[in-house]
Symmetry: C2
Subunit: 96 residues, 2 copies
């Protein structure tokens, strides 16, 4: 399934900045960063469950927010990009 | 149509911070802010054209990025929200 994952993490404290890094690192395992706090991911059902559970554990539910949108293939093809965002084909292998 | 609008604006300069405020203000006319740089909007076709054109005029395409996703009703109903994000019914009138 195709996911769009957006997050706001409160970075006023060192712990917040740590959470932000953890969220970004975790998302990088599953997809491509298209903006600072936006990832487009392609995952299987099991991967999705792991991802969601991991994010629930990382964030502080009182101050942080993660939203996950399920995009259809049609929606993927209709994405409008204005400006400098790099669009990377997430079917390509990731170079780590 | 239901839009998800995400943006990254380079705020290193006063001009950038001005662009950021303009983008946010414009998006607020069309939908609900669900994260700092994420809006969920419901617009007609004409409104969409105006919105897209206005955003193209505001941003600096060399440093900023706006992405627009078209969400189906199914996708809207499946949104997963983790943490403190306020979910506001954007059918409700906005209080300014």
């Amino acid at each position: 399934m195709n996911l769009l994952l957006t997050y706001d993490v409160n970075t006023e404290s060192p712990e917040g900045r740590r959470r932000l890094r953890k969220v970004a690192k975790k998302c990088q395992c599953y997809g491509q960063r298209v903006q600072k706090s936006v990832f487009e991911c392609k995952v299987g059902e099991k991967e999705y469950i792991i991802l969601e559970n991991t994010l629930r554990k990382i964030i502080d539910p009182n101050t942080d927010s993660v939203r996950i949108y399920f995009l259809s293939e049609t929606a993927i093809q209709k994405i409008v990009n204005i400006g400098n965002a790099q669009v990377i084909d997430y079917e390509d292998p990731l170079i780590v």
